[in-house]
Symmetry: C2
Subunit: 254 residues, 2 copies
């Protein structure tokens, strides 16, 4: 028996998120189908991040156990030949027995892309949130500081999750206007040891309230301290969110 | 009567190209429909470039005559509210009576995007040509030189066009490996006073033959001099091609 770690990129637009659900097409389902097609054995796979409907991944990490004798490059090619073209295995490597992509993840980074201003862009429909006014990126940058470090992030968690603790540590949070392929975008990146349900999208929605001038930068920290879910801004839509990468202990990473 | 110049961006994936055809959805058709909805008058519009099925535009130029009293910003907003979301009016301005976006164009620039190497990318499906081997960009760059300047480009023209002359002037042609939103891409840009049918895609297909080592860089110039349509490389697929902009005499541009 071997344990493998897959690095997976996908455009989440056409999927009901990562996690297996009955009757709907999810990324986990098409990945498990591909593993079964290629190895001949029905196999459960484990993803580091339960991305929601419409959320994308640049380097999702997926682990599974298999008895296949295929070398990793052959397996990668065979899986990509089986997978739909909006899901791509970038890399496969062996990891120690017992490795689990959910449990062993120690750090993840997400990116959120916003197109601000009155003009839409046809190439950003699936990959950015269009906010139809110009955002004050400097104000958003001031607001972000309160979120760095270890905090109880309950106020930025959507209901419906069942995690025991709401304490997480944000190692990095950047807000910048950046030149991208189709023009300037407001890009927010958040790196943490874990994320609560919709935490990035709730933080982004709240930062956008600040960027629109609805609240001062200090409001971001006030919401955090309140631990009150009803105080945060709207949940930013899924299409702007990308899982960038996942890191594990002992130097593993996606 | 006023004459207006529209700057238009579109994702060409879902369209049978720019030009009006019976029974199929084209960009010209949806633009004419939007103008009629907004002004109340059926209106013929003229585009600078007849982009083919699946080809994209960042700044296509479109002219038309209208008696509308709406100011340009109101017209732009109203058109964008009517247009499908993969076609966007970026800008509208008044131009002199008699202005015609096809006839008066003096220079255009196209970009072609290639994802090379064995790994596919889910975010580039509609926006790049995947060539599954690493391309020799230096060799492609050497080959390109023969195309600069005024030449008879018959060899790089696809059959089916009815233009009188095959002589065009290429002012600029760049081949470079460039860091884009989803990783490095080989980007080819061509700027000329006009383009024959499929000229950019035939040049790109031929440069890729050189990049793959099928022919030496000098072959690009030999094909040009032969004026023989059967000698050029394959026509590169539509999805990698973007019309970047159009320039007119007297400083107008899209």
């Amino acid at each position: 028996m071997r344990t493998l770690l897959l690095t997976l990129a996908y455009d989440g637009t056409e999927y009901f998120g990562w996690q297996l659900q009955t009757h709907v097409r999810t990324v986990q389902r098409v990945v498990e189908f591909a593993v079964e097609q290629v190895t001949g054995v029905a196999t459960r796979v484990t993803g580091s991040s339960r991305t929601d409907t419409g959320v994308h991944a640049l380097r999702q990490a997926v682990s599974f156990s298999t008895e296949t004798k295929l070398d990793n490059e052959t397996l990668r090619r065979a899986m990509n030949a089986t997978l739909p073209e909006d899901v791509v295995v970038k890399e496969i490597r062996d990891v120690p027995a017992g490795f689990n992509a959910t449990r062993d993840a120690v750090r993840k980074r997400y990116r959120y892309v916003i197109l601000d201003g009155r003009i839409r862009d046809p190439f950003s429909l699936r990959y950015a949130w269009h906010v139809p006014v110009e955002l004050d990126v400097a104000a958003m940058g001031q607001g972000r500081g309160a979120l760095l470090g270890e905090h109880d992030f309950s106020a930025y968690e959507s209901t419906g999750s069942e995690r025991e603790s709401s304490v997480r540590t944000i190692y990095d949070l950047t807000v910048e206007r950046k030149e991208m392929d189709h023009g300037p975008r407001v890009v927010i990146e958040v790196e943490a040891n874990g994320f609560l349900y919709n935490m990035v999208r709730n933080i982004v929605g709240s930062l956008v309230y600040v960027g629109r001038g609805k609240y001062p930068p200090s409001w971001i920290g006030e919401v955090l301290e309140s631990r009150d879910r009803t105080r945060a801004g709207m949940t930013a839509p899924a299409e702007g969110l990308f899982l960038m990468w996942v890191k594990f202990g002992a130097g593993e990473g996606s």
